[in-house]
Amino acid sequence: MSSSAPSSQGPQGAGLSSLAGDSRAYVQRLGQPIVAIASGAGGSVGVIRLSGRDLSVFAEMFRGPLPGPGEFALRDVVGRDGSRIDRALVLYFQAPHSFSGENVIEIQGHGVESLLGALTARACELGARQALPGEFSFRAVWNEKMSLEQAERLNECYSIADLKAKSASALLGFSDRDSARAQEVMRGLLELVQKARGRVEAAIDFSEAEQEQSDDVRSALHTIDGVTQQVSRLMSSYENFNRAHVPTVVLVGAPNAGKSTLLNILAEGERALVSPVAGTTRDFIEARVRLPSGQWIRVIDTAGLREVPGSSSNPSGDSALPPSSRGGSDDHSRLELLGMQKTRELMQTSRVIVWVRSCEESDLPGVATGADWPIDTRERVGPGSWISQPRPQPRAEPKPEIEVWSHRDLATSDETHRDRAAFDFVKESAACRDYILRCIASALAGEFATKDSARGLEQESVPEITRRQFQLLKIANDELCLARACLEGARPIELCADHLRQTELELNRALGRGLGDEYIGQIFSQFCLGK
């Protein structure tokens, strides 16, 4: 794995998410008038939405009075000089009977981007502010117009490009009663984890009763196993959905080429949600990344397939053990093979492949860039262009590929890299992120347009939990694996209690309790603009 320095400093603090990630931005500005284009691109009608405590000043935008509460009227929208910008249908919703729970004006004009831009600018002239990502939804949740889970599901619908109608309506129709069921399960799990911790604490605090201690440990192990199973089930309900609907981009390259670093760079906003387990590596192998267009993609780092703590392919939590107690070299190469097998599968099912190469290693012509990574079976078909031909499936369709070079700072000659996309991942993270996301977006652009029914899983799946809950459960799952490893003697038992406590914390967060302020800001900052 590459050095951890970039992941700890990396791209954090850059861009919109750091501003929006601060929940104060949302809370302190409650009531302020905000504006955004609310309609999708390409329609003949475009909608502008304004929300705020007092919107009376915006009557000036229109020739003629604002319509009454719950009414609409056809109005000229005029600029400061009185000239007409557009003729539009104006709707007025009075608090609390609106999407956000505040007073809301909706302007339905012509779906011309420049006109919508002008309307927004006009509203801003009168004191409105361009809404932060997810700010409308935030207010709706704040004013109890919808639950956090509902808002999150709504956002999923907006952010997944090729969501099928059936899935979308199922997702939106997922009632609070349905999510209450998942909550019930999680509450049950929380109780079980508490019970297990009770036994572990007893084993620690009543040191004299030896017989009881081993009973306690056995019982705790049993409980933990039960909980792990149920957590996995909940997680898979989301994973299936995610796999079926979100396009996958896979990062491939030699070890140490910088895949993990790149993933961290791409994952930017996501990282704050995933806290690292102290003392172990929790570089996640999969991240959800939003393209500039607002669409989600899944980015998978194949390196993680070989060495993942607590991943579902490694439920025994092997990696929590000290290196010496892990399997011997036979085991190790078996794991390697397994990893490569998975990588091949991923390369086949993914929509875009990103090759990560290190400038340092590739200077000599003829040396395979994936030296000890015999996946790279591509053939060169012409100057600068590549076609992948994964060996097991020779008939596989060629798919878009992107190449990026890491360690530009280590390149021996500048010549070789002049026309390559080479970056110093640490120092040029923002530029690198920008470049790759643009490449992915354009590679996918064609894909989104074609109605390719053969791709992805066909069955409709509605996740029982939201993405946030999934992420929290994932951490909880890792913690449970570590807790188990402690009970089996890999680490002292009091650390087991620590991991179980952390599990409780994550479960509580998944239940919406004890969410820190930073979480709330994060959740909404990942929403689409204008939602």
Binding site: S207, I493, L495, R513, I520
Partner: protein, 642 residues
């Protein structure tokens, strides 16, 4: 010094009760420069160990180390009187390893009485408190039953189990707080008259056995560790001879007899209304509650070097004396046992600790402090820790200084204070390591580091102790940086610092010195010590090595706890000003308002700890607090990054 008698005397402070709490309270007060009177029913029982003859144990030993770090007396006294010392939880990690010593009870009490009476600035007064006096909303002294009037602006009540106490032994009952001792009859109503809510609690003690009638040969002997771990920074020159304890078990017969006599136990007959400690139950409780257990452990602990009294640990009971004898005789080794004294239960008055502020001061009358068993705890160590805390805060109050807010991240002592005053308890409270969320940070080995600043600021330490700690911390830093700088080659192309090498789970300093790391360094040819191989010639004291290993091996976990602590601190700084009206905050759910009223949290971190409070409400209240132009002085808007 003889107990003095005077019709009228003036002091800065008065401590009522000479048990483990009262002693530490008095010591803290005099070390802070306050003239203090210690009132005791019997001056010669100061420092008596009323129940078991041991100090320490899991979590409790942490308290003793903390008491010592704050200049207290308990640790050193236990070191001096130890007749057996053991480290518990050695198969677990360093944070939960604990020290437990058995003491010679008699020597402990005599030495302690002597030490206490010779504390400069302390006057011991023998007598029973008749009434507490107040002037308006603050205490100004008390009068004794014999008419003596003592004046003081601070009073610490640490009367243990002695308030309106009744002893039960089978169907018999007698007035008194301990075998052979009287009960304090008047104090209780005086306290209640200020508005304190009282509750009857119960505790018990087992019979004492006559060593001459026990057949030890058949029993499993338990020797202590060859090396005694000291509680105190002070060295103990003369160690007492070490003794052996014995382990035996109850059996089905024992349980049968107990079961057949349930109705004779005042516990079950309803005579005792008080709630007993859940964690130190009487043997009849155990038989009833764990009916499926075939046997329970009984540790036979000698109470001293020059006594035949043996304490059967785990056999606390209030059954009639003849029944006690009957069931004890079913136990292996005790077939012909005779009792020195039967076991009994004590029921006594306690106050509701949530009626106290952070410094254990009464919310109803200023200058009145409470510490120890009266605050619904059990255990010598818990009592002593509270005494120290109450003494410290009473001392500060006398100087016009603010109460110290208990910091759960700093000590078990403060965890205990926090739990008692903010959560309250309905049954005797005992400390466990699991009471703390910061268990890995709160260890025996770093007690002095955690509390040095607090101790220093308040003048709780003598010069010697300050110098000792300063040197210890300096030498630790020096050793640490030497380990950081010393590079060792551990493979053909791996060079790491010695401290990184020590970080490996399979490496300990001990294994390095013995060369028993399995040839990790030598590639199998393991001749001689690895320490030599590493080229590290320095000698490092055991204390330092232990601490280093702890920090190195918990490192990742400690960092995580520290991050948590930082967040809590941030939220704790957002305190609610006096008379804060949560209803006035916009957009707070009714449920949160209800919960707020019920739990009356003092800061945002406390609010967020209440189950059911929504994150949105926390955010709203936090933002509201921060936005206030004057949020009570303690909040500076610049320093908070909420």
């Amino acid at each position: 010094m003889a107990a003095s008698r005077a019709s009228t005397s003036c002091f800065d402070a008065i401590v009522v009760g000479g048990g483990h709490a009262g002693i530490e309270a008095a010591r803290a007060l005099v070390s802070m420069g306050h003239r203090t009177a210690l009132v005791s029913l019997k001056a010669n029982t100061i420092g008596a160990m009323s129940c078991n003859p041991a100090i320490g144990g899991v979590a409790k030993s942490h308290l003793v180390f903390e008491i010592d770090a704050l200049g207290g007396m308990m640790g050193h006294m236990a070191d001096r009187c130890a007749i057996q010392s053991r480290r518990l939880n050695m198969n677990k990690g360093p944070a939960v390893r604990s020290t437990r010593v058995q003491c010679d009870k008699d020597i402990y009490m005599r030495l302690m009485s002597h030490e206490v009476t010779s504390l400069p600035g302390l006057t011991v007064v023998e007598g029973e408190v008749a009434e507490l006096h107040s002037d308006g909303d603050r205490v100004d002294g008390l009068s004794l039953k014999d008419g003596t009037r003592l004046f003081a602006r601070a009073i610490v009540i640490s009367s243990g189990t002695f308030m309106r106490s009744i002893m039960f032994c089978g169907e018999g009952r007698s007035i008194g707080g301990r075998f052979g001792d009287p009960s304090a009859e008047f104090l209780s109503s005086s306290i209640a008259s200020f508005g304190h809510r009282m509750k009857r609690l119960k505790t018990g003690t087992p019979a004492r056995l006559d060593a001459k009638t026990i057949c030890f040969d058949a029993l499993q002997a338990q020797w202590g560790d060859p090396e005694q771990r000291r509680f105190s920074w002070r060295k103990t020159r003369n160690r007492l001879p070490q003794v052996c304890c014995f382990l035996t078990y109850t059996n089905e017969r024992t349980h049968e007899i107990i079961r057949a006599n349930f109705e004779k136990s005042p516990l079950f007959s309803g005579d005792i209304q008080g709630v007993g400690p859940r964690y130190c139950p009487s043997v009849e409780d155990k038989v009833k509650r764990f009916a499926d257990r075939e046997r329970h452990q009984v540790f036979l602990e000698p109470e001293g070097l020059s006594t035949d009294f043996v304490y059967p640990n785990g056999m606390s009971t209030s059954l009639p004396a003849n029944v006690q004898l009957e069931f004890l005789r079913t136990i292996q080794g005790l077939e012909r046992v005779e009792l020195k004294r039967p076991g009994y239960a004590v029921e006594y008055d306690s106050i509701d600790p949530t009626d106290l502020d952070d410094g254990f001061q009464s919310r109803f009358v200023k200058g009145l402090f409470f510490a120890g068993q009266i605050n619904r705890t059990s255990g010598y160590e818990e009592a002593a820790a509270q005494g120290l805390w109450a003494g410290l805060n009473a001392g500060r109050a006398l100087k016009g200084q603010a109460t110290v807010a208990p910091d759960r991240t700093r000590s078990y002592m403060e965890t205990l204070v926090w739990d008692l005053t903010r959560r309250g308890t309905e049954e005797p409270y005992r400390l466990f390591t699991s009471r703390s969320e910061y268990r890995l940070m709160l260890r025996e080995d770093n007690a002095h580091e955690r509390l040095f600043e607090l101790a220093q600021e308040n003048g709780l330490l003598g010069q010697d102790q300050v110098r000792y700690y300063t040197e210890l911390m300096e030498s630790f830093q020096a050793s640490k940086s030497r380990l950081d700088k010393h590079r060792v080659r551990i493979g053909p192309d791996r060079v790491v610092s010695l401290s990184e090498y020590l970080r490996r789970p399979e490496v300990t300093w001990e294994s390095i010195c013995e060369g028993s790391t399995g040839g990790l360094l030598h590639g199998g040819e393991n001749e001689g010590s690895e320490k030599e191989f590493l080229g590290f010639s320095g000698e490092i004291s055991d204390e330092i090595i232990e601490k280093l290993e702890v920090e190195v091996k918990y490192e990742g976990y400690l960092r995580r706890q520290e991050a948590e602590v930082a967040m809590i601190r941030r939220l704790s700084r957002l305190e609610f000003p006096e008379g804060f009206d949560v209803g006035a905050v916009p957009s707070v759910s009714n449920e949160t308002i209800e919960l707020f009223k019920k739990h009356s949290p003092r800061s945002l971190s406390e609010l967020s700890a209440i189950p059911g409070v929504t994150p949105a409400s926390i955010l709203a209240i936090g933002t509201h607090l921060k936005g206030r132009p004057d949020s009570g002085g303690s909040v500076s808007r610049e320093t908070i990054t909420f």
